[in-house]
Structures are given as C-alpha cells and as structure tokens.
C-alpha cells in the first residue's frame, strides 16, 4: 500500500533544500553568539565599576601577535577546505596542521598572559569586577578555542590515518564555520576588552 | 459539493461595524461601573481603595484600562460564544464540507488596525501616569525617610529629623491645600525586597547597590497595611508593613518622642546590665547606651510600637518574652538567634525592654 502522492502535471524536478550540516552549525553559532553576547554585555556594563584593584589600562597589554595568529588561522583553514574540495588531501593536511599550530600558539599566549596577570599584577577572577568579567569572557572564548582545536586535531588524526577524502569536504567546511565564528568572537572581545575597555 | 469558495467579506465587515457603534459604549459603561471605588472595608490592602496620589493615579488609569479590556472581552467572548453555538455540526448533516474560506485581506486589516489604535490609546495613558509618578521631585517641605530593607524587617531613618526606628513608619497626613508628601529612599542591606502598601502607592523594590525612591501623600489619617512583595528568604511572608498616617500635631509629637535618647529606669537596671553584657548589643541600638548594633532593629523606643517582629506579633509582654527566648516560635527562620537566657535573666531583660517607651 503506497503512501498518497500527487504528482504535478508540469513536474519541476528541481527540489533543492539546504544541507543539514551547515544549517545545524549556523544554529549552533547563533546559540553560542547569544551566550557570548551576554558575557560581553556584562563586561561592558561593568567597565569602570570596580571599586578597587587593578584597572584595565594598568595591566592589560594588547595581544597584537596573538590576534594576528588567530585571524590568520581563519585564512589557513579556508585554504585547507578549498584544497580538500579539489581532492588535494596532502596539501589540505598541511594547511590544516598550520591552522592547529596557529590556534595552539594563541592558546599558549593566552596562558602566558594570564600567568603574568595573576603572578605579577595580582589580578585574579576574585580580585574585582574587572577581574571577574575579564577572565570569564576571555576564558569562555579560550574554552571555545580549545574545543575547536580538539575537533581540528581529531580531523587531523583521521587525515593521517587516510580516512579523509574529497567527499568529506562539507564536514570540514562545517568545522571551519565554527572556527571562523571563534575568530569573529575574538575580534569582538579584542575590541571590547583591549580597545574600548582600556 | 462545494459551491462558492470565497465568502463575501462585506457581510462580516458590516456586522463588525454595527458591533463597534452600538455595543462598545454599552460595554464600557458596564465595566467602568463595575470597577467603581470598592469599599475599603473589603480589605485594608485593596488596590482599588486609594488614599494617596500615586495610588489614586493608578486607580484612575486602571478604570480606563478595565473599560477598554472589558469591552474587548465582551465583544470577542460574544463572538466566540455565538460561533460555538451557531456553527455546531447539525445532526442531519449530509457529509458535505462547508464552504472553504481561505482568508480575507480586508478583515485582517480591520482587526489589525483597530487593536493598534487601542494600543496607542492605552500606551499614551500609561506614559502620562508613569511620568507623573516617577518624575515628581520632592518639594522643600517633604518629609524624607530612608527605608532600608533587611531580612526580615524594615529600618526607617529620618535623616533631617534625627530619628531612627523600625517596622512601624509614621508619616504626616497631607491635603491638596497644604501638600505634605513623604519621600522614601529605598535601600537594602542584604537581598531584594519590595515596599508595598497598596492603598498608598504601587510597589517599589529595595535592591542592594541600587537606590530607589517613591513618594506618598495620604489624605486620610489612619493605619495602612502592606508587606514585602519581593521574595527575600525564609520569612518573606512575615515582613509586614505598618504605616501610620498621623495628623500634623501627632506626627510632630511622635518625632519629638522618637528623637530623644532611651528612658533610663532604675527599676530595670538589672535587665539593662544583662542586656548590655549579652550579645544583644552587637545587633541592636538603644540610643544613649553602649548598645549600638545595626544588624537588628533599633530598640530605643520599642514600647512605642504596636507590634514586634515586623508586624508578626502584637507587642505584649508575653510575646516579647517568647520572642527573646526563641524567635523561632513566632518567626522560624528569623535572623535573630535564640538567646539562651536563663529564666530570671529572661524576665529581667524583658522588663528592661518594656521600659523603653
């Protein structure tokens, strides 16, 4: 017994709907953007409101190099995906590796910056409103970078095992969308924390 | 099978027009009359029995709002009821489907535009009252009180009159010829609270690190009741409000009495010694003595109050003794600990407190 169907006389055989992967990733990005928005709003609201302790312009050093690394990694991942779509798996792997390396440098630099802030400047999450909002916002971003890096490394391992081929381009692209999102968030955090807030 | 597929909209629009012109005014007056001033004896905290300008403005606004919403209710309810009765499936239906009507732009426009107009009217009415209540600034002769919310009692300070008291607020009566409003600055020592005496004004919250202000100008003397209206912890329910609106003379006399130091009574010196030796003075103030704690209510003129524990119990010797022995018997979850005084000590301290007129 077949399900009812009505075929149209002038049947239009084109029926193109968006792909599920990118659609899902856009939704995830929207949700994450909403979380970050709240943390950014809190940061902005509390600018200048700390009653004591180190203030941003006293202790923050603008992380230019780290920013360049992270933003470049968006470029490298874009190239990587392009190469994979052409079937050049080895080149893809190299650019993907470069992306991972740049991301890792960013994280390492963040760790260094925090060590400096904690040990030399005495700024912790408990110190004052600035400390709380700074570590929360930058930390949330760093957490997302970490998760992204873990995913990228996983893909790298699959590639080294020979399991990644041209037909997986869309999956790599979906992951790169997440990575681009993480970079855009950094641009916002950078402006709010290191430019406006200082 | 199915005849015309598009019902003419003209008939529908005409019925709506008749409704608007004849039924609405009738509905409005019925509902408006219903919301007429309710008798205060229905409840001492009836929001529809205002005695002060903010509460009165709100009441007047609310009558307009009720008229509008009541009319909408009658019309739409009527249409729904009609539809539910008139368009029931007839028993002798021949299985034919009724005319399928997919929509009508004119009708949609009508019932979009009319609600928008109603919204504009309500909005303008509300905006006016918001401005008149919130943007009022105190005239020079206003009585200024700072209200500090605590878990679970109210602290009242009259900074320019040098009075500090708790739980029972006294303010002067006001009238249109000689307005004497009271301006309250609202602060909190711990969590969020809300000051709500319905017959005097709408509620305003007391939020730590966020000072608020409100004003009242009651034109009838008397005692007005309310209570905390923002959940603040275990005994939120018993953080009651008692506002005494006094005549000018009574108010001035009250201020006079409250601004003086505590009465010294030789008979109660034993109790006073125990009071001052025990942890009591860490939380309570008795002006003119060593007791200067700020965590609990000021007790300097405790006996001038009708109730204790922020309205939770009448101020009788028995209740006072019970309270001091174990506040949990009257207000479990109150921040005052059971003092663990022995029998004679307890009687002495209670007698001492009873001299604090």
């Amino acid at each position: 017994m077949s399900a009812p169907s009505v075929t149209m006389p002038e049947a239009d055989t084109r029926w193109n709907l968006p792909a599920r992967g990118p659609a899902g990733m856009y939704c995830l990005i929207a949700a994450e953007a909403a979380i970050f928005t709240i943390f950014v709003v809190a940061y902005i609201f509390y600018i200048g409101k700390s009653v004591s302790g180190p203030q941003p312009h006293d202790v923050l050093r603008v992380p230019v190099f780290l920013t360049i690394c992270l933003l470049s990694s968006s470029l490298t991942i874009h190239f990587a995906v392009k190469l994979l779509s052409k079937g050049r798996v080895i080149s893809f792997a190299l650019w993907w590796l470069l992306t991972v390396a740049l991301g890792a440098v960013f994280l390492a630099g963040t760790v260094r910056e925090w060590r400096h802030l904690i040990h030399d400047e005495g700024l912790t999450i408990q110190t004052n409103l600035f400390g709380t909002t700074y570590y929360s916002l930058v930390g949330l971003h760093a957490f997302h970078v970490t998760v992204g890096l873990l995913a990228l490394v996983t893909v790298l391992i699959f590639t080294l095992l020979g399991n990644v081929r041209r037909e997986h381009t869309q999956r790599a692209e979906v992951l790169s969308m997440y990575w681009h999102f993480v970079d855009v968030v950094w641009v916002v955090v950078f402006i709010v924390v290191y430019v406006v807030g200082r | 099978m199915n005849g015309q597929r598009r019902v003419t909209n003209a008939r529908v629009v005409r019925s709506l027009d008749i409704l608007a012109r004849q039924v609405l005014p009738f509905c409005g007056s019925v509902v408006g009359g219903f919301a007429a001033p309710a008798v205060p004896s229905l409840s001492p905290t009836n929001i529809f029995a205002p005695v002060s300008t903010p509460a009165q403005s709100i009441f007047d606004l609310s009558r307009f709002v009720l008229m509008v919403t009541g009319s909408i209710f009658v019309v739409v309810f009527g249409l729904l009821a009609y539809a539910v009765v008139k368009f029931r499936k007839k028993r002798a239906s021949d299985g034919r489907e009724p005319a399928q009507v997919y929509g009508s732009m004119q009708v949609e426009l009508a019932w979009t535009v009319i609600p928008i107009l109603i919204v504009v009217a309500l909005f303008l009415a509300a905006a006016r009252v918001i401005a008149s209540i919130q943007n009022a600034s105190p005239p020079r002769n206003a009585v200024e009180v700072t209200v500090i919310g605590h878990q679970f009692w109210w602290e009242y300070r009259y900074p320019s009159l040098n009075v500090v008291t708790a739980n029972e607020l006294h303010i002067p009566v006001s009238d249109t010829e000689h307005p004497a409003p009271t301006f309250l600055t609202l602060l909190s020592a711990d969590t969020d609270h809300s000051f709500w005496v319905p017959r005097l004004a709408g509620k305003t919250d007391l939020i730590p690190n966020h000072p608020n202000s409100m004003w009242v100008d009651p034109h009838e003397t008397g005692l007005y009741l309310g209570q905390c209206a923002q959940y603040c912890g275990t005994q939120h329910a018993k953080m009651l409000l008692r506002v005494y609106v006094d005549s000018r003379e009574d108010f001035d006399r009250w201020i006079q009495e409250q601004s003086g130091p505590a009465r010294v009574s030789a008979a109660a010196s034993e109790g006073q010694t125990i009071f001052e030796r025990t942890a009591c003075i860490n939380c309570h103030t008795v002006a003119g003595t060593v007791a200067n704690g700020r965590f609990g209510p000021d007790l300097t003129h405790l006996m001038s109050r009708d109730t204790i524990a922020s309205g939770a119990a009448p101020n009788t010797p028995e209740n006072l003794r019970r309270w001091i022995q174990d506040p949990g018997t009257i207000k479990p979850g109150s921040k005052m600990p059971a003092m663990g005084l022995s029998g004679p000590d307890l009687m002495a301290v209670t007698s001492y407190l009873e001299t604090l007129h």
């Binding site: 077949s2 399900a3 009505v6 149209m8 029926w15 709907l17 968006p18 792909a19 599920r20 659609a23 899902g24 995830l28 929207a30 949700a31 909403a34 979380i35 970050f36 709240i38 809190a42 409101k49 700390s50 912790t124 408990q126 004052n128 709380t132 929360s136 | 099978m1 597929r5 019902v7 409840s43 905290t45 709100i58 609310s62 709002v65 309810f77 729904l80 539910v84 368009f87 499936k89 489907e97 009724p98 009507v101 997919y102 929509g103 009708v107 949609e108 609600p115 309500l122 909005f123 509300a126 918001i130 209540i133 969590t191 709408g202 939020i207 730590p208 905390c228 209206a229 005994q235 939120h236």
Partner: protein, 557 residues
C-alpha cells in the same frame, strides 16, 4: 470519507524478553519513540509538580496554617515552578514536535537522530539531578536540599552568603544540563524543517504546526543561551569568588534580572507557540474548514517571536528603571498583543461558517480560545506599568500566568493528546471519559484561577507561606484550593483513559478524524520508516486534495 485502514497480515512473532524491549527504547534514535519518551517523562514530572502545587494550596487554605514549615513551603514553590516549566512543559512540547514534524513534512526522521537522543537524555538527567536535591541535606521531610530561591532565583539571594549549602547549585546545574538538551532539540527542529521537507512542500505549504515549531526553535536557540550564560556567571560567583552579582563589590542584582528575563520572556513564547500550533491544526479539522488567513498566521507568529525578544523588562517594572525605560517596555509589550489578538480572530474566523464537531479535542480547543482571551487581557492590564506597580508580584500575576499556561497551553495540550493519541497508539480513546476529564478540569481550573485574581487585587503578594487574617483574602484562598482537587480528578480520569484505551480502545485506523495533513496518511502507529515512498505535495492540505480531486486546494491558494 476517510482513507482506508491498513490491514496487517498476522504473522507469528515470538515475544521478545523485556530487557531487550527496554534496551531498544533506551538506545532509540527514532523520532517517534523519542517523542513518546519525552511525553511520558513529562507526565511523570507533571505528577511531581502537581503534588508540589497541592502542598502549596493546602498550606494556603487558611491564614496561619501549619501544614508545612516556611522552609518546606519555599522549596515547594521553587520546585513547582522549575519542574513545570523545564521538566513538564518544555519536554512535552518537544515530544510532540519530535513526533509530528517529520511526519508532517514527509520525512523519515529528524535531521540529526543521534543528537535527538542525546538531547532527550540530557533533559531527562537534568530533571533527575534536580529531584535528587530532595534526598540531600536534611532528608525528605525537611525537603532536603531542594532549591528554595524561587524559579527565577534572583540575586543576591543566590549568593553563597544567603544560600548556604547546595540547594541553589542543584537548580543551576540541572537547568544547565537540560538547557543543552533544549538547544540540541531546537537545532534539530530547525535543520529538519529547513532541509528535509518532501518535494513540493515549500515553506508556504508547510502545515502551521511546522511553521510555529520552527519559530519556537528559533526562540530557544536565541533565548536559552542567556540563561546558560547567567548561570555560568552565578557559578563563577558562588565557587570562584566572582562578583558578577556581588553587590558588596559593586556588582548589580538588577543585571541578573535582565539576563534572566531576556531568557524568561521568550521562554513563555517557546511554551505558548507550540500550543498555538496544536490549535491551528485541530480547530480547522473539527470545524471542517481550512485555517483562515494562513499567511497572516505565519506572519503574526514571526512577529510574536521577534517582538517577544524585546519585552523582557515588563517583569521588572517595579525595580526602579527610568521612566523612559519603563515606557519603552510598555510599548513593546502592548505591541505584542496585536499579532496575538490577530491569531485569536483567525481561529474564530476558521470556526465561523463551519460545521463544528465537539469531540474532546475540540472541546479543549474551544475552552482554550475563551481562556486565552482572558489571559491575554490580564496581560494587557499588566503591560500598563503603573497598574503593574500594584498588580506585579501579587497573586494577580500568578493567576495571569497560570491562566496562560494551564488555561491556554495545557488545554491545547490535552486537545493534542486526544487528537494524536489514535495516531500514536493505533487506538481510539474513550470519548465519554474524555468529556468527563474536560468538564472536571474546566470546573477545577476556573474555581482556582478565576478567583485567584481577587487576592491579588486585594494586596496579597506571591511566594508567602502564610498570610494574616483580616486582609480579606481567606475565602478566596479557600475556593482556590478547592479547585485543585477537581483538576486532580480530571487528570486522573485522563491518565486512566489513556491507559485503558491503549489496551482496550477501538482500532483507530490511519485517519479517524478525516484530516488533511501528511501525518494522517500513515498507518497508526506509523512504521519506523514513516512512509513507504516519500510523498510529493502540491498544497497545504495534501489529503484534502486526495479526498476532493475535483476541488483541490492548489486551485485556490
């Protein structure tokens, strides 16, 4: 004129062991099974939430009652609110969405079946974590360590200073966990609807239920995240010494309110929009007419979604915002009444000129229309900020939102249960018991929630474990409590009906209601793969087209 029932050939299948059947349910990724799991889970928690409500109402039946201590009472109202919103209403609506959306769009499953299962189990564990709080601390009689800060957990009451122990942490963590589940489901719904519709089903030809769930999912994605963010901040305050809401360090208690209500207000649209969806499917079928004004209904819903994100501070009219801010939120709140009213008028117009058959689903939908009208109007009253300065945080508000949630959402939910129970179980429910449920519940609902408005007008604030005599509140509280027992009776009849009918009901066939959407074209219950061949549609009511080939919908719209 309904489609033929499918007759299955009788085959001998040996009974599988119970363990295997349970394992299948626990590991399922089939949207229909997950939908049913969500629904059953929600019904269980409905019982818990109902018990909590009953305890509250017994305590308040008269002034100075001693049925429970203030500590227990405060835990009861916190748990009641948290349970009903997060572990009853949301799961049950997700459950129906999960079950129905693929069927209605001609798909075989949701876009991400494993994410679907993950989301369900996250929600389920969240609820279990929340209820585990009862057995911590003092133990059940003292209501253990259950949270007692109110379901919106205002700061600074939730700071370590004022909330010792772990009660608040149970609240935070259980909602964080289930929040991930909610967002997962929402992502799934959006991806499914955008990417998996059958051929011919353009966005303008989807059933309204699908449109409304798409809007709801969009709201979840945007609105649950602020709650997640705020709760993370609260954890930082409580455990890492942070100062987000620490007023002593210059922090703001009001900012918690903003963050919470930025979530909290869209949340109520997340709950009510699926309820509108049920009404939009059921009313046309039982009125025997197409929905009136489909494009306007879609536009109104999207408007509600957008405007709904801009009204949140009407929950904060009393906190001392500037007159400009208060005025803005008055305007945005009133604005949302316009598209909402339009929807009521469109449902009314659908019934107008129809041949309404008052079977149980339609009875519940009709009551929904009357009740939602009242609920909307009391909402309009409170949108007038000065009026809200009196009515806010009182029993008037409690009456209003229960009118929306019970009178609006639950009534349409019951309608949906009765309407789709034949599809999900293959059996018809008992119509007499259904009507009995309706009348019992209707009486109880109105006894409780009509009269509950009055103590609010007479000055009774919410969240108080007892009240003073002599305020004129006594009689109304008594009537309100009495209504609870009628509602409980109604719900018992409902559960009994479902259970009895599942085993003993008449076989339903694939289309007992002579309906028009694709879900009614499958057998009842549908096979795992839903459709033998994926259908192709040409209008909004594919089955109408089949049943009326001389007069199909696609000739008209």
């Amino acid at each position: 004129m309904s489609t033929q029932s499918i007759a299955w050939a009788k085959t001998e299948v040996s009974r599988r062991p119970l363990v295997e059947k349970l394992h299948e349910w626990v590991t399922t990724v089939d949207h229909k099974r997950l939908g049913i799991l969500y629904i059953l889970y929600a019904l269980l928690f409905l019982a818990f939430g109902g018990v909590e409500a009953t305890i509250i109402r017994i305590q308040l039946i008269r002034p100075h009652n001693g049925f429970v201590s203030p500590q227990v009472f405060n835990r009861m109202f916190t748990m009641h609110g948290t349970t009903m919103i997060f572990f009853v209403a949301m799961p049950i609506l997700f459950g129906f969405a999960n079950y129905l959306i693929p069927l209605m769009i001609g798909a075989r499953d949701m876009a991400f079946p494993r994410l679907n299962a993950f989301s369900f189990w996250m929600t389920a564990f969240g609820g279990l974590l929340l209820y585990f709080s009862f057995v911590g601390g003092d133990g059940l009689y003292g209501a253990g360590n259950a949270p007692d800060v109110g379901w919106f957990a205002y700061a600074p009451l939730t700071a370590q200073t004022f909330s010792r122990g772990h009660s608040t942490d149970f609240w935070i963590l259980s909602l964080l966990v289930s929040g991930f589940g909610s967002v997962g489901t929402a992502i799934n719904i959006i991806a499914t609807i955008l990417c998996m519709r059958c051929k011919g089903m353009t966005l303008g030809k989807m059933p309204l239920l699908v449109w409304l769930n798409l809007t709801m999912a969009g709201l979840v994605v945007l609105a649950v995240s602020p709650l997640t963010a705020a709760q993370l901040m609260l954890l930082v305050d409580r455990y890492l010494g942070g100062h987000f809401f620490d007023t002593q360090a210059g922090g703001s208690a009001v900012i918690w309110m903003h963050f919470f209500w930025v979530f909290g207000h869209p949340e109520v649209y997340v709950l009510v929009i699926p309820a509108f969806a049920f009404a939009s499917e059921i009313i046309p079928v039982f009125s025997r007419k197409a929905i009136f004004g489909y494009p306007v209904m879609v536009a109104a819903t999207i408007c509600i979604g957008f405007i709904g994100m801009s009204v949140w501070a009407h929950h904060m009219f009393t906190v001392g915002m500037s007159s400009a801010a208060n005025t803005f939120f008055v305007l945005s709140t009133m604005a949302i009444a316009v598209p909402t009213g339009i929807k009521i008028f469109n449902w009314l117009a659908t019934m107008w000129g129809g041949q309404i058959d008052f079977k149980t689903p339609m009875l519940f939908c009709a009551a929904f229309l009357f009740q939602f009208l009242v609920a909307g109007l009391t909402g309009v009253m409170m949108s007038v900020a000065p009026f809200d300065w009196q009515l806010g945080n009182s029993y008037f508000v409690v009456a209003h939102f229960h009118y929306v949630i019970l009178g609006g959402i639950f009534f349409t939910l019951f309608a949906a249960f009765y309407y789709w129970f034949p599809k999900m179980s293959g059996r018809m429910y008992n119509e007499t018991l259904g009507k009995l449920h309706f009348w019992l519940f209707l009486i109880g609902f109105h006894l409780t929630f009509d009269f509950m408005h009055i103590p609010g007008i007479l000055g009774m604030p919410r969240r108080i474990y007892t009240y003073e005599p002599g305020r004129g509140w006594d009689i109304w509280n008594l009537i309100v409590t009495v209504g609870v027992f009628f509602q409980a009776a109604g719900v018992l009849v409902f559960i009994g009906n479902l259970l009895w009918s599942y085993w003993r009901g008449k076989v339903a066939g694939s289309d007992p209601w002579d309906a028009w959407t694709l879900d009614w074209s499958t057998p009842s219950p549908p096979p795992t793969y839903n459709f033998v061949t994926i259908p192709e549609v040409r209008s909004r009511r594919p089955l109408w087209d089949l049943k009326h080939p001389e007069d199909p919908d696609w000739q008209y719209e």
